[in-house]
């Protein structure tokens, strides 16, 4: 599903070249729950941007679902993001004055899904993300942090992407709510077989995944199966 071969990324600022990724190779199979872990400045965010088709590589190959996406144009990358990728961000990035449903259906506008299907897909996604249906017509700025992150997860799910990227999804949440959100990801992975890539700097958060890729200074330090997987308690009581 995801195959990276010797990916490098170098930022050039004037005459100064800053190598951020120094040859990264790995594969992720469909249905995996992987954490990419590393301290800040390790290059994990840059790696996520490349894997999430927000950025391109300097050298190397990135194959997503059998297609080489390492050298696509901006608009081609936009199509890849639209069809194959869902994002969950640390700061939620919801349209604050729009309702929950509107936020969740936003990606479907660009995918040109017929209106009638949008509602159905949004309901599925919101149910999968575990948000109570009495919140669906609320404005997103009337929700709590945990609820907002569930809306963001539903938005990432709504167009049935191949992979969901979660960039520090618990960073703005308290530990209890963060635990519940992580539980939601585990459930999506286990029950719905979604491929999830979790980017975090916290070992504790990374330990909720099945596999941890540890990145330091732009290279993979360790890529191992997580034998001490933490299982979060999931229930819908997000407040």
């Amino acid at each position: 599903m995801i195959r990276c071969e010797n990916i490098t990324k170098t930022y050039v600022n004037g005459d100064v070249e800053t190598p951020v990724l120094k040859g990264i190779s790995f594969e992720i199979k469909s249905g995996e729950f992987v954490a990419i872990m590393g301290p800040s400045g390790s290059g994990k965010s840059t790696l996520m941007h490349i894997l999430g088709a927000l950025d391109t590589v300097t050298s190397g190959t990135y194959v997503l679902d059998g297609r080489d996406v390492s050298k696509l144009s901006d608009d081609e990358l936009a199509d890849v993001r639209r069809d194959k990728i869902g994002f969950v961000f640390q700061s939620f990035n919801l349209l604050s004055r729009a309702t929950v449903l509107r936020n969740v259906m936003l990606p479907l506008i660009y995918a040109e899904v017929p209106k009638a299907k949008r509602i159905i897909q949004a309901h599925h996604a919101l149910n999968a993300a575990g948000l109570d249906s009495d919140r669906w017509t609320h404005l997103s700025n009337q929700l709590s942090g945990g609820q907002m992150q569930r809306v963001a997860i539903a938005r990432a799910l709504v167009n049935s992407p191949s992979i969901i990227f979660a960039d520090e999804p618990t960073g703005n949440l308290d530990s209890k709510t963060g635990e519940i959100v992580l539980g939601t990801f585990q459930e999506l992975n286990r029950k719905h077989n979604h491929t999830i890539i979790l980017i975090t700097h916290e070992p504790y958060v990374a330990e909720h995944a099945d596999r941890i890729i540890h990145i330091v200074d732009g290279a993979i330090l360790e890529d191992k199966k997580n034998i001490h997987k933490r299982v979060a308690h999931t229930h819908n009581a997000i407040t």
Partner: protein, 407 residues
């Protein structure tokens, strides 16, 4: 991105901050409104001046004493004061000039007219039976002066409706009554139809008497103050003007046309001169409106730029979930066009209201042409595209990664 989604997104974005949307739109409303209002005043003035000129006759050429100057810029103090035109000149024109429909020499001067205890001061015109054909005058009741009355020095008078109202009361029966002009009694034989118009050059406030009578009893000489000639049609006017000029130069034994002791004025020249003046007037007024429209457009750009900065994260998110550059560009341009277009609609109504107020309160005629309304819509949509383009490009070219991180 579908059109229906685009409209929905635009509606959503514009209604999020209604006050700002309204204030931004106000700039366009005032701009379009003042263009429509100002141009309508200009066009109204143009229309009313042209119809005023047309109402004095059609295809009219006026020969008056004085010096020939440039068309339409004759100094009026000279007119009528010189005594160089005679009845014979008029007869010669009738005999020799072709393409003429009718010709009417006239003697005109203001006199005090009295009737049974009332009196008024008005223009008394001594003329011949063809005068109504030349000057587009219609008779309401009674009859106009006949050739018979001209040759017999009859003391009869035809009154304009305003003069009749002043002397005998509004709408009173005046036929058969007698009035006194310059101590001579005249019998009223007809009343002309109202032509409308008021104030300066009121064509309803006049009295007509036979030419010979005016020359004998009122002026006391044989000169005429002007000769009005109606050409057969518009195309022959230049030809007639030339023939009349040549004939009179020859009759007055003047070899150099620069020294002519008369002037021949073509109505088309008067209309053209007046139109060019009112045209400049309209452009000037339109330009004043245009400046406020430009300011409104800059206001739109300013607001759109602020919006782009404010919504940087939203733009980043939209890109992250699959929006292409073109989607973002179109969305922002649509927002600005929606602002200007709605502003344009309200502006047209506002301009129409301005024109209406001007007509009602100041009595200045106004006319809103469909052309200026269409132009206003076109311009407002164009302003939306022009002033929305730069902010939209700026939004579309944002890097999604940086946009998402923007604080």
């Amino acid at each position: 991105m579908k059109i229906s989604d685009l409209i929905e997104e635009t509606y959503f974005s514009l209604t999020v901050n209604k006050v700002r949307t309204g204030l931004t739109m106000l700039g366009i409303v005032i701009g379009i409104g003042s263009v429509i209002g100002m141009v309508s005043i200009g066009q109204g003035a143009q229309g009313s001046i042209e119809s005023r000129i047309q109402s004095i006759g059609s295809n009219l050429i006026i020969v008056s004493p004085g010096t020939q100057r440039g068309a339409g810029v004759q100094v009026s103090s000279g007119r009528g004061s010189a005594q160089t035109l005679t009845q014979e000149d008029a007869d010669a024109i009738t005999k020799n000039v072709t393409l003429v429909k009718a010709i009417a020499p006239e003697v005109s001067r203001r006199y005090q007219i009295t009737a049974k205890g009332t009196n008024t001061n008005t223009q008394v015109i001594g003329t011949v039976s063809r005068y109504p054909d030349v000057r587009n005058i219609e008779i309401d009741t009674g009859s106009f002066i006949t050739d018979q009355q001209v040759s017999s020095l009859a003391r009869v008078v035809v009154l304009g409706p305003t003069t009749r109202d002043d002397l005998f009361g509004v709408g009173a029966e005046a036929i058969g009554q007698s009035v006194r002009i310059n101590k001579v009694d005249f019998k009223v034989i007809g009343i002309t139809k109202s032509k409308g118009g008021s104030g300066f050059g009121n064509q309803d406030d006049m009295a007509f008497v036979p030419l010979s009578t005016a020359q004998r009893f009122l002026a006391g000489d044989i000169y005429v103050t002007s000769i009005s000639i109606a050409a057969q049609d518009q195309t022959s006017m230049g030809d007639v003007q030339q023939q009349v000029t040549d004939l009179l130069l020859q009759r007055h034994k003047i070899s150099d046309p620069q020294l002519a002791d008369f002037s021949v004025l073509n109505q088309a020249d008067i209309v053209a001169t007046a139109s060019s003046v009112t045209g400049i007037f309209t452009i000037l007024l339109g330009a004043i409106g245009g400046i406020s429209l430009l300011v409104g457009g800059i206001g739109i750009m300013n607001m759109m730029l602020t919006t782009v900065t404010e919504r940087t994260r939203e733009i980043g998110l939209r890109k992250a979930i699959g929006a292409k550059k073109i989607d973002i560009t179109i969305q922002f341009i649509t927002e600005s066009v929606a602002l200007t277009f709605l502003g344009g609609i309200v502006g047209v109504l506002f301009g129409w209201f301005l024109a209406f107020l001007t007509t009602q309160l100041a009595g200045i005629p106004t006319s809103i042409s469909s052309g200026s309304v269409m132009l206003a819509f076109g311009v407002s949509a164009g302003i939306g595209i022009i002033f929305g383009y730069y902010p939209a490009r700026r939004a579309a070219s944002l890097n999604p990664i940086e946009a998402l991180r923007y604080e």
